[in-house]
Structure formats: structure tokens, C-alpha cells
Amino acid sequence: MGLEAAITAEGFMTTQLKRVINWGRRSSLWPMPFATACCGIELMATASSRYDLARFGAEVMRFSPRQADLMIVAGRISIKTMPVLQRIYQQMAEPKWVISMGACASTGGVFDTYAVVQGCDQFLPVDVYVPGCPPRPEQLIEGVMAIQRIIDEDGIPPKGPDGKRIPLGIALQPKRQPVPQPMPLTLN
């Protein structure tokens, strides 16, 4: 963290309480994987060694909502699943964040039928949408990092009316050009 250079010999450091709390929250996100479809496979790939979500402190997948603070809705939400999803969201302890992962969770995707909810954000407060069908692990990591930016901006106590968190409405601007695929093969 580079903190060592700023700490004096006595071990004291001056900062804002808000920054310390937010630093702790952003560095130890515990996701609740609500994986109902193929996005869940990409979610597993994101957490596994090749992409290694642990680099961002979010590798502890918790299947109990009481222990989680980031819900990742990965996959289509059917009309039977929606009340379950809401119940699980309500069981999570504050503060909590929601990522809507993939086209189906955000809009219903290609499943425009009676049985599929056309976007879980109609009935749940979603913080970050990750587009894709399914999104690549890099995209999901970008989404988790967007959650971290939201946490960085959070006030202690939260800034919203009634002390509740309000969405920041930030839009992610990609910081780099995507590499064309397939990549040219260069030797040496």
C-alpha cells in the first residue's frame, strides 16, 4: 500500500475516519454469487486463478447473505426467482451493493417471455451494470472496481436523504484502448 513511508517512527498517521472505513470496505468486498445461468460460469472463471478476483480483495464468495456485502446477480431472473432474490437482498447487512451482470439480469436479454423478469433493476436497487452475454471476466472485474470507486465516494454516514446511500450515477470511461482480437503473433 505504500503506507509504510508515510508512517512515522512512532506508528501514528493522520487521516479521515471516512477514508479508513472506506478503504477497509473496498478492499474486502465479500460477494454473494446469485448465479442462475451461464453468467455464473464466467463469475467462477473470474474468481479462479487465471483472472483471480482476489487481487481486488473480493475472492471470498459467501453463499450466506448475512456474510456478504456485494450481490452479483449473474443470469436470468425468472418470475419464481425474483421474490427469492429480493428476500436475499433484504437479508444482506448494510452497507451492501448490487452488480447486475450480463444482458439477462439487466434487461431480460433474449428471453422476452412470460416467465422472465425484464431486468432485475425494476425491483432491486442496482449499483453497477456489467454488459455482455456473458461478460468476460475482465469486464466483471471492471464492474467490481466500479463498486470500489462507488465505495470510495461514499460518505460516513451516507450522504443520501434519510441517511441511505444514493446511487452516484457515474459512468465508466475505459482508460485504455481494447486490444484487437486475435492479437498478432510477434516473436522476439
Binding site: I79, K80, M82, P83, Q86, Y89, Q90, M92, E94, K96, D112, T113, Y114, A115, V116, V117, Q118, Q122, F123, L124, P125, G160, D162, K164, R165, I166
Partner: protein, 189 residues
């Protein structure tokens, strides 16, 4: 392009002859397509015929492979009824396959879920216990009920679901079932 020749069913399945011998006074229809033979049975004769198909040692269809419903609303070719329930029987010794089809016509408008006395077929759960869940699915999706079924409840949708979704006159996007949820916001946690 010359018009395709009408398909002439080849009714040489040995089971058809046995059924005709056993029930000489009952009216049957039969079709065949690409080696798969279907016997069309009236609802009142259905259970008796199924019992014969299972118990007679020349038929011995000891395995109910599957059972499903069809809605023939707006089907291009004329059909004997609006709904059909198809049973797919297999003899596990000879690998013979035989289809039994029952047609039923609704007597009430098909947009509701109330019990229609015309849409009732005898259950075959007493012959093949594996029929229990498929018949529940047919009931759930098409609203066709089964007499003497041990557990005639919906299986995929919930008990109060206001429709039978695989009927062709049920709208594809439903009647608002996917929109009626409470809205959970941040203050509701």
C-alpha cells in the same frame, strides 16, 4: 418443384393388430411417420388400452418414456381435437417404441384456469408411477386434469398462477406476471 407426395402411413406395427384383436368394438385411429406409430384413443377407452399395452406379454410396454401435451390451435392440418396428450411407451426388452395419443376438446373458454370437465383424462400413474410428474406438467402447462392422479397440483408454476402458459392463446409475454413484484429500494433493507 413438384408437390410433395402425401405421406402414406405404413401401419404394420405388430401392436396395432393386437390392440384391434383385444378391443374389436372400439374405434381407433392410427398414424405412422418415419417408423414411429401412434395409436389415437378416445378418452373413455384410454386407461383400459394402456393397461392392456403394459400387461399383455406380446406388448409388454414396461417403461413410460415420457408424456406431454400439445395444443393444436391454428394448426394447419385438421386434427381430431384441440389438445392432445401423447404417451411414449417403450418395451425395454425389444426396444420397441409405441405412441398413444388422446385428443380432448375444451368446453369452456381457454383463457381461464377453472376446471373444465371436458379436459379430463384418466391418469396412468397406477400403471407407470413415472407418469406422475409429466402429468402434473401437462396439467400445469395446458390445464388438462387427470382422474385418480395421486397429487394433481401444478409442478412448475405456483398454485395461484393465473393461466396455463403453453396454451397457444396464452400471450407469449404473459398477462403481467413478470411485472407484479414489490419494489425493494435502499430504504427497505
Amino acid at each position: 418443384m413438384p408437390a410433395a407426395k402425401p405421406h402414406k402411413p405404413n401401419l404394420d406395427h405388430p401392436t396395432l393388430k393386437l390392440v384391434k384383436e383385444k378391443f374389436p368394438d372400439t374405434k381407433f385411429k392410427a398414424t405412422e411417420y418415419r417408423g414411429q406409430t401412434s395409436l389415437i384413443v378416445a378418452p373413455q377407452d384410454f386407461h383400459e388400452v394402456m393397461r392392456f399395452l403394459r400387461d399383455d406379454e406380446r406388448c409388454a410396454y414396461d417403461f413410460l418414456s415420457e408424456c406431454f401435451g400439445i395444443d393444436y390451435l391454428n394448426y394447419p392440418a385438421p386434427q381430431p381435437g384441440r389438445f392432445a396428450v401423447v404417451y411414449n411407451l417403450v418395451n425395454t426388452k425389444t426396444a420397441d417404441r409405441f405412441f398413444v395419443k388422446v385428443y380432448v376438446d375444451p368446453s369452456l373458454p381457454t383463457d381461464g384456469i377453472e376446471k373444465d370437465p371436458a379436459l379430463v383424462i384418466d391418469s396412468v400413474c397406477d400403471l407407470w408411477p413415472s407418469a406422475e410428474w409429466p402429468e402434473r406438467e401437462v396439467f400445469d402447462m395446458f390445464g388438462i386434469r387427470f382422474n385418480d392422479h395421486p397429487d394433481m397440483r401444478r409442478i412448475l408454476t405456483w398454485e395461484e398462477y393465473p393461466g396455463h402458459p403453453l396454451r397457444k392463446d396464452y400471450p407469449l409475454r404473459g398477462r403481467g406476471e413478470r411485472e407484479h413484484f414489490k419494489i425493494v429500494d435502499r430504504s427497505d433493507a
